[in-house]
Amino acid sequence: MRTYLYNGSFESFLTALAMALKDGEDSALAMEGQAREDLFTEFVNAGSDPAAATAMRELFERRGSAESWQHARFAFLSETEDRDAALLAYARLIKEKGAAADNMLADDRVKRVHGLSASVGGEAHMFKGFVRFSELADKTLYAKIEPDHNILPLLTGHFRARLGAFNWIIHDVKRGRAALYFRGRLIFAPLTQQKALEFAGGEAAVQGLWRHFFKTAAIKERTNPELQRRNVPLKYRRHLTEFE
C-alpha cells in the first residue's frame, strides 16, 4: 500500500494524484506532514512535476470535460479533510467512465466532489459581497478575510475588473496569504501583519456613514434576526464593517 505525498501546492497535488492513479486501487495520497504513520504503508514523496501535472489536467479536461476540471480545481481549494480521498476516487471514475461520470449525480463519489466544488464556488460568490476594503493612508485598499475554503484565487479576477484603477490587498488572515494588486500587476504572497495599519483621513467617516445607512435600511416591523443569521453567518461578521 503506497501513499503519495505532495507539498501543498496544486501542481504537486496533481503530480501525486497522477502517481496514485497509475499505482492501482489501494494507493492513496496525502499532504506532507498530515499523513498518519502505520506499519503497512509505504510513503513516497511525489515532488512537483509540471509535465505530470499537465497530463493530469488533460485527463480531467479531455477524458472528462471542462466541467470535470473545474470541479477538481474547486474541490482542491476546499481544504477539507477528505479532499484527497474524494478527488482520488473522482479521478479514478473519470478515467474509467469519461465525461459521463459527471452525470452520475446520485453516486457518492461524484456527489462528494460536486458538493465540495459547489461549496467552494458558493463561498467565493458570497465573498464577492463580503470583502470590505478600508482605505489606507497611501490610498491602498486593504481587506481582511477568513473564509472556510481557500477562495482567494477565485476572487482576484472579480476585483481586478472592478478596482483596476486602485492598488489593493486582499489578506486571508487565516492562511497568512494575500493577493496584492499594485499598478496593474497581481501577485500572491505570504503575508502577516507586522504593525498597526495607518488609515486614510476620511476612512472613519465613510465607515460611519455606511454603518448608519445599514442600520437605517432595516424595517422595524419585519425584524427577523434568524433570517439575517442564515444569510450572514456569525463566523463571517468579524470583518464586515457594518457588524463591527
Partner: protein, 426 residues
Amino acid sequence: MELQEKLEILAASAKYDASCASSGSSRGGRGTGAAHISGVCHSWTADGRCVSLLKILMTNECVYDCAYCLNRRSNDAPRAILTPDEIAGLTFEFYKRNYIEGLFLSSGIVGSPDRTMELMLTAVRKLRQEYRFNGYVHMKVIPGADQALIDQAGLWADRVSVNIELPTDKSLRLLAPGKTKDTVLVPMNRLAHKIAEHKDERRSIKSSPAYAPAGQSTQLIVGATPETDREIVKLSEALYAKMMLKRVYYSAFVPVTKDSRLPALTEPPLLREHRLYQADWLLRFYGFKADELLDEAHPTLDLAFDPKTVWALNNLDKFPVEVNDADYETILRVPGIGVTSARRIVRARRAGALRLEDLKKLGVVMKRAVYFVTAGGKYEGIRKESGEAIRTKLLEHKPSGNGQLDLFSQADLVRETLPATVTGQL
C-alpha cells in the same frame, strides 16, 4: 444639515422599496466598477433583506399626498435633499470599499416631475461620466416627467422602474390623488418600447449604446387595498407578457402613516407577500399560468400550503409522475422538486435509471415529493389517492404555521432559482 443626517432621512424613506436586485447586467470596461450578471448581495439587514445597492431617495420632499406613503406632503417629518455631487460621491466611496454593487436612486417630487427627473439624471450622469463608474445603477422614473427626460434614464441606468404602487386604478384614485393607472402605465410602456428598440438595434449594430440592459421592474403594495391575490397575480402575468418586465416586487403594507382610508393592520401581511412571491416564481420559472393557480371561485392563495402544492392537490389525476421518463416541465411541477433538482433528475437519469432512494441525493424534498412521484414504477406515498389524506400528511411535516418561520423557505426558494438567474432573469 450634515451628510450623515441627510443619509439617515433619505435611506429611511427609501427602505420600503422591495427591489434589491443588482443582476441582469454585465457592464464593464475602463474606469471603476462592473456589474455581475447574477448580481451580488453584500449584506443583510436585521429584517433579513439583502443589501446590494445604496438605496436612497434624492429627496423626501414631495408635492403629492399619497395616503400610504411616509413622504406624503401632509406628514410632519424632517425633509432633506442630496445634491447630485453628494449622491455620486457617496456611491463611489461606498463602491470602492465593496459595500455595494451600485446605486438605487428614487425620489419624492421636488418642484415638478421634470425638475426632479433632471436632478436625478444629473447625479447619475455625473457618476458615469466624471467618476467613470461602471457599477450597477437602478433608477426610478418619475411619473409625469417629460418623455425626453424619461428616455434618458435608460441611457445611464442598468435598470429602470416605475412603481405601480396599487393594483387597480380605483385604489390609486382612492389613496394616491394625482396618480392614475395612466400616469404609471404610459411611462412604463414607453420604457418597454425603448428597451425593445435598443435591443433590436444592438443585434445589428454591436456598438450602439445599451439601454437599461437589466430591463424594467415595478413594485406594488399588498394589503393596503382590497384586491384579491388573483387580481394581483393576473396583473403580474400581464406585466411580464406585455411590458416585458424583469421583476414585479410585492411589498407587504406597513402602516407608516395614519389615514382613515387605510386598513388598521397589527402587522404587515408577510405570509401573504411570501405566497405572492411563490406564485410569481411559478409564473416565471415553472411554466405556470395565473389561471392554473387561482380562479374566480378560489381567488385567494392558501396560507397553509405553497401554491404549487395546492395546484398538485387539485390535480391529483396528473400524478404520480415517473421521474425516469417524464419531461422536465412535468417534473418541475412536482411539489418538493425545484429548478435545481429537476435539472439534476434529467441529467442523472442519462447515466442510469433512478431509484426512489436516489432522489434525496439529488436534492428532492422527499417528505413532500413522495406522494407525487414514482421511480421505476415504485411508489411509496399513500395508496388510496385521497387529496385529504395527503393534505393531512403534508401538514404534519410543516415546521409550523407561523409566518415568520415560513419566510425562511423564501431564502431557499431564491437560492434554488439562482442557477436560472445566472442567465439574467432575476
